[in-house]
Amino acid sequence: MEPSLASYLALSGILFTIGAAGVIFKRNALGMFMCIELMLNAVNLTFVAFSRYYADVTGQLFVFMVMSVAAAEAAVGLGIIIAFFRNRVSVDVDDASILKN
């Protein structure tokens, strides 16, 4: 007996919620970045689960697209973090307040 579709969707929902909570709780830009990766993975899981249960390969292809976007995001996001660290000697998002005053 296989696990039902609902189990996979529930797992995905739990992981997405943990990722969203992490983005809110973390102050470290790298920690927030990792939580966003976790949320992308949770969405990938729903894609693969629906692809399995409707026997359609489209879902798995879009997982591939999401992975490419995540790789592009990693390159640009880590570039921004390094540039920010060079200017502010910190990766705390609270220090990114140059536009505040």
Partner: protein, 194 residues
């Protein structure tokens, strides 16, 4: 039955690693926990009969992206995350929004319980590398090309973002930041007090 047991084993592992990622203050521990989530998820993909996606998950996420993240953590030599000491009056608003999120989650669970228990269609070739590759270069050629352009843009953007300032300019920036922090210490950190 075996699939069921494996699914719950790796689902539990994924959730535990995800909680550990959010819990740890040290970014390196978070990164290693996230690798645990990725590997557990790749095992979950195998229970969904998607071996290609499982392999790509380990190669791209646990391999490429996390190596990049760990490299940046080592490069920046980060301290532990500080505890939250800002915006205490927003906790009540946060509790209200959390309640709304909980209600939404319960609604989603109700909707999810009506999902089909078993696969509505079975096709053994779905998930094999052959069918993914064949579809990628016939039906979904345009999205693949767009992703290629996106990756090129990301490469150019990353190179432009991290290009090095000339050394005197960099020292000026660091000096300015350090004097700004000293001034803030003198007048007290008003960002926290309001």
């Amino acid at each position: 039955m075996a699939t069921n047991a494996l699914f719950f084993l790796f689902a539990g592992l994924a959730i535990a690693s995800a909680i550990s990622m959010v819990y740890h203050k040290n970014p390196l521990y978070s990164a290693i926990s996230l690798v645990g989530v990725f590997i557990a998820l790749s095992c979950v993909y195998i229970t969904l009969a998607a071996p290609f996606i499982a392999a790509v998950q380990v190669l791209i996420y646990a391999g490429a992206i996390m190596v990049l993240v760990v490299f940046v953590i080592m490069l920046l030599n980060l301290d532990d995350d500080q505890p939250l000491n800002r915006l205490k009056y927003l906790y009540i608003v946060g509790a209200g929004l959390g309640l709304v999120l909980l209600v939404q989650t319960l609604f989603v669970f109700y909707a999810v319980l009506r999902a089909p228990k078993q696969a509505v269609a079975t096709n053994e070739t779905v998930g094999k590398t052959l069918s993914i590759g064949a579809n990628m270069y016939t039906m979904y050629l345009l999205p693949v090309e767009i992703v290629g352009v996106l990756l090129l843009m990301a490469i150019i953007g990353a190179v432009i973002l991290v290009r090095r300032l000339s050394q005197p300019e960099l020292e000026n920036v660091v000096d300015d930041e350090l004097t700004r922090r000293d001034e803030e210490d003198d007048i007290g950190d008003f960002r926290i007090s309001i």
